[in-house]
Amino acid sequence: MSSTILLSRGRVVDPRNGVDGVRDVLVRDGTIAEVSEAPLKVQDARVVDATGKLVLPGFIDLHVHLREPGEEGKETILTGCMAAVAGGFTAVVAMPNTKPVNDSVLVSEYVKAKAREARLCHVYLAGAITKGLQGEEMAEMGALVGAGCVCITDDGRPVMNAGLMRRALQYAQLFNLPVMVHEEDLTLSGKGVMNEGRASTRLGLTGIPPSAEVAMVARDMVLLEETKGRLHVAHVSCEGSVRLIREAKRRGLNVTAEATPHHFILDDEAVGAYDTHARMNPPLRTRRDIEAVREGLVDGTIDAIATDHAPHGVLEKQVEFDKAWNGVVGLETALGLTLSLVREGVMSLQRAVALLTDGPARAFGLAGGHLAAGAPADITVVEPEAEWTVDSARFFSRSRNTPFHGRRLTGRVAQTWVSGRLVFEDGQIKESR
């Protein structure tokens, strides 16, 4: 099989390198060899006609839950990677809240081995900040970095202990490691199950006020300023957080942030008549928060779109709303939802692509995210005008928990290339072992 591939005449959008136009992309031995405005003639190349399609750097998701080890019924590293490449993602960062928690070299090595076996996309690791995510003792950060962790986080839980958080921000500087935070003051969110507002009042459900998130963002900005550490704010959901992060960036703090498609598309009315698929943490907020998150995505306050892909089984969702688990799957719907912002005129295609590629790559210092010669040949080919209806029954993910089932989306992944290997094409996973 030829290891030379020519993606010809697609519209290449590569924000980092300022490219937006019809180009030929030549891939040799898993690496981008050349991106040319003029058509290339290459002997022995496998030629892929990309006319009318978008040729983009492979998407990078900083925030996914692959559930293995421990909850393989919801997702495995293999099925999670299948969902990733089907959604155009060539790299994902696996969160540590598995069972057992990834707070050790042993778990890191296990995940890496499974990812190698799956052989679909790059799986980067996030290690825990604290042992067992208990929020009490720091996990062995140096060992985790040695095992390949690219960030640390107790995601799913906040670090309530401010002193511990401060030390983590200081200690992580030994490794120039971003500390990713799930911002939630548990004394404010309490037993809340959705955003506090008109909708929670109507449904008689306990509300989570925005202050639960904003107060923690404020605390962490103070700690960040003092420690000069590196902070990444996960799944920003409300106006106050966007404002604080914007100010912090203006003051030169080393902070990055991500937002999820569900937080920039849906508001808390999506809970409707107790639809547990709209239960997530942080909760869906209001229209006003959606607008603020969108502004943050456009003006660079928010660096990346991440899915917080969180698979759950029917048993966790087909229950009373206050007993349901938090989370939605997101890998296979992210592109279409992101492109809807482009269609609505909220942002340019270049910005949308940057949020899926360059932004996340820079936030965590990952390879990829662009298509210059020498970069890994991680490429997502998109049919921008293809319309499709989300059918959760057809997900590659092992779970079906999405509030977007039945939604019409425009823009579909035609091909996903990882290190020059075609791993997904026309709805099929390619098992080119």
């Binding site: 929670s200 109507r202 008689g204 459900l205 509300g207 087909q318 229950v319 009373e320 709303f321 206050d322």
Partner: protein, 297 residues
């Protein structure tokens, strides 16, 4: 109406039809003992409420139905069975309607999506208690004829009250003005958007009210810091005899029960001439007969 899950969304005509039917039942009306003869109504109480359960049971019997009383005590729920499994098992015995009381807001909605028979919400979490609101409206209507232009003041823990929510929707639909009163910590956001007026000042609100509804204060809320103590709550928001003096002479006093006498309502007021609390209880059966007839049609 296939189910009665809440008052929200019901039209005035729907509500008036139910109240009209209840009126007929209250007066004896035509013999209805054959209406549900041979049918089974299942009372599913995941949370204790002797009062509501008994009232539904009497209503079902009056329509000739058999009643299956099911409670969580000693049931498979305590062994970890899910709500849907429990309900599907009971549905398999063939009831025409499930009457559900549950701690979780929205539990009857979940059930209604998964069963074929009718579902009646007998109180879900802090969401709605539609039969209670209908019997409250029924009681007021019997006294006043019409609710249009009347002002009903609801006092207490609005945040956690399913009675307050259902009454807000019901009374507003029937043309009354609803004023909700309580400490700021117990007035959830967005209530104005459903047509309510909010106030934290009970004494100022009392003279305008044509009826006052006192809500039960749950003492466990004290530990959650919604208010400093039951005593302080009572001092600020309890309907004592002195406060009742500020009411219009003909103003009525309601309470959905069970009462904490001396906390949200003084015994003298609860048992006084303005009180329609026992009428409420008596009207419950007639209203619930009307509800069962409607959803089992």
């Amino acid at each position: 109406m296939r189910h009665l899950l809440g008052i929200e969304g019901l039209r005035r005509a729907d509500i008036e039809a139910l109240l009209g039917r209840a009126e007929a039942h209250l007066h004896g009306g035509p013999d209805a003992s054959h209406v549900l003869r041979g049918r089974v109504i299942a009372n599913l109480f995941f949370e204790d409420s002797t009062r509501t359960r008994t009232s539904f049971e009497m209503a079902a019997h009056a329509l000739g139905a058999e009643v299956l009383n099911w409670t969580t005590a000693g049931s498979s729920v305590s062994k970890g069975e899910t709500l849907l499994d429990t309900v599907r098992n009971i549905e398999a015995t063939g009831p025409v309607a499930l009457i559900i009381r549950h701690r979780s807001s929205g539990a009857p909605h979940l059930v209604a999506r998964h069963v074929r028979c009718a579902v009646v919400n007998a109180g879900d979490g802090t969401h709605e208690h539609p039969s209670q609101a209908l019997l409250d409206a029924f009681t007021l209507r019997r006294r006043w004829g019409r609710l249009d232009g009347r002002t009903v003041l609801i006092v207490g823990d609005i945040l956690h009250s399913r009675v307050a929510r259902s009454n807000l929707h019901c009374l507003t639909a029937l043309g009354a003005k609803v004023v909700l009163c309580g400490p700021p910590t117990l007035l959830p956001p967005g209530l104005e958007s459903f047509g309510a007026e909010l106030t934290t000042n009970l004494d100022a609100a009392l003279p305008r009210a044509d009826a006052v509804m006192c809500l039960r204060v749950q003492s466990e809320r004290q530990g959650e810091n919604f208010f400093p103590s039951t005593r302080e709550f009572s001092r600020m928001y309890g309907l004592n005899a002195a406060r009742a003096e500020r009411l219009k002479p003909e103003a009525l006093v309601l309470h959905p029960g069970p009462m904490n006498r001396g906390v949200e309502i003084a015994p003298a007021v609860a048992d006084g001439p303005r009180s329609v609390i026992l009428e409420q209880v008596a009207h419950g059966v007639a209203v619930r007969r009307a509800i069962l007839e409607e959803v089992c049609r």
